[in-house]
Symmetry: C2
Subunit: 346 residues, 2 copies
């Protein structure tokens, strides 16, 4: 906390950079002032611009503007849908519109990666209040389409509706380039359990924003837009190291381990000492008076991949535990005195 120690309200109002709050109140016409056609055409132009030069854009047979989009596919189609809601997943004071859009894209694409797939196209259902500045909607779509393009996926369609909160539903279409998809239920006794990158950064960033703090900036940024370390189509990139089971860490590591252990009818042992953390996480946890294990095991929203492997793991991944022949569905965290658990949507 910096200069405001007064009331909760003034602290909240002070939270976040002014730039981010201001990004929701841009000058110019409101959404309700424009014809839907004009605004939708703007969003299509933004989508096409961000997708420009994408390798995967050659897979777009029919892009935005028709009743539906048409994508070429290499084998079975992978599809997942994910929603970001104002007040629940983000606050206007803490995240700019472009960050909200980028976050919605990353978390939806992570589900395709978790099947060993790469995204080929994205459709967006965007709900916002009619008094939202049109420039805010454009900014959100710019962030969303830019993040999707970073994973090789163009925005190929969408729907724009009037809602009381900002609600962004991103549905991602992808494929596994003909390989078998990696399921949740294939973990086998003897496998090692590994993660693709550090965990706990998003939860720490949320705590910092709640306290009106903005440093370390990397942790705050990790909450605004997750930047997981996997590349798209991991299945394709590791021909000799196929995961037996995989998911992305969206609801917290402990919760995801439980889900995988239950689906696979195995138990999993995890050593929290081996779970990679972003820099300064321990120090920030001490400062905030938080058990760092809470962030690392329960935080969620980092969207790194967690997978089980029969032998070696891909470069950059960290082994954090093993699949064991104990009570099916059990997750045993070494030296964990508390009953950790994950994120609930309600």
């Amino acid at each position: 906390m910096t200069d405001s120690e007064t009331t909760t309200n003034s602290r909240t109002a002070d939270v976040g950079s002014k730039g981010r709050s201001a990004a929701w109140t841009l000058e110019g016409p409101l959404v309700r002032d424009l014809s839907e056609r004009v605004l939708v055409n703007d969003l299509i132009a933004i989508s096409n611009d961000r997708a420009g030069g994408l390798r995967s854009a050659v897979d777009v047979v029919i892009g935005p503007g028709d009743d539906a989009a048409v994508l070429r596919s290499k084998g079975p189609v992978v599809v997942s849908t994910d929603t970001v809601v104002e007040g629940r997943h983000f606050r206007r004071e803490w995240s700019a519109p472009a960050e909200v859009g980028a976050r919605a894209a990353v978390q939806a694409i992570a589900d395709i990666a978790a099947m060993g797939g790469a995204p080929t196209g994205v459709v967006v259902a965007l709900g916002c209040p009619p008094d939202t500045p049109a420039a805010v909607v454009r900014s959100l779509m710019t962030g969303l389409a830019g993040a999707a393009a970073g994973f090789g996926a163009p925005v190929v369609g969408g729907d724009l509706v009037a809602t009381t909160q900002v609600v962004v539903t991103v549905t991602v279409i992808g494929d596994t380039a003909g390989h078998s998809p990696v399921r949740l239920d294939g973990a086998t006794v003897g496998d090692v359990v590994a993660v693709s990158g550090p965990l706990g950064g998003s939860a720490a960033g949320l705590e910092l924003l709640g306290r009106g703090e903005h440093e370390p900036s990397a942790l705050v940024a990790a909450h605004r837009v997750p930047t997981p370390r996997w590349a798209p189509a991991p299945r394709v990139h590791w021909p000799s190291m196929v995961p037996t089971a995989m998911t992305d860490v969206s609801d917290g590591l402990w919760s995801e381990l439980r889900t995988m252990a239950t689906a696979s009818s195995v138990a999993i042992r995890v050593d929290p000492e081996r779970i990679p953390q972003p820099p300064q996480l321990d120090e920030v946890a001490r400062r905030c008076g938080v058990d760092v294990a809470t962030w690392v095991l329960e935080g969620g929203e980092d969207h790194e991949l967690m997978a089980t492997f029969t032998g070696s793991v891909p470069a950059g991944w960290s082994v954090i535990g093993e699949v064991v022949d104990e009570e099916p569905g059990d997750v045993v965290v070494t030296d964990d005195p508390t009953g950790h658990h994950g994120w609930e949507s309600f």
Copy 2:
């Protein structure tokens, strides 16, 4: 209007059958009382139950419960997303949860049909207030999955989030069984313009509900759940009558004609006398003091298909006009004294 001529408020409260209002306040636990996992598993069970025996379910490689669903595909993938919002597209007094779910499915699947495709799978992003009865969410999903199954499509995945309004985003995946998709921009001078079924029923039903009237019930039902007359995969069913351009009538016929004419750089002439209407539409319009052409030309939400053909049209379709060599983008309605226009989302 029947027995309540008092104030606007009491009329509104009186509107709709009691059964439909009551369907939103069912007994039992609320969404926030259940663990997300329990409720999601319920919804998956409902989806699987409704999809039972579906021919297309053999195309499901991985269904709900993993990070993403995987569907077999026959050629290019058709995808579209569509949202239904409480207070904007439906009211709790006028539509039961199952009707809202069914409507969301039908309107999203219509976009796949409009490309000449058949749906192979559906994903659902469902937002609702935490104090919604869990039974309401189950009912909505039952209606949605049942309607999708009617078109041959199983619900293969979803996301459940807390929102202040009920917001249902349905994304449909489909294919054209290897045929070329039917675009919006292929209408050619000399083509006939035809529609797959009667228009104006949904708009009339909305007007009746607003007046607290429930007869004719077929018109009221047409607003609650559109029942367009096309079968899935129309492109496949008319091998000798391929549309040159096609769309579904979601925003009103006039608006869709404008969009098609503009995309195809042609003009379209329409004779309103030839547009099919549901039974009793003229009589109800007179009773309501509404120009029936407003419902037929601007009503929207009937989700019948509108297409252009080089020669004959499929059985059951009605020719309503022709593509002419006049000012590109123009839609000329014979004997139309007013400037009709379509539905705007804001």
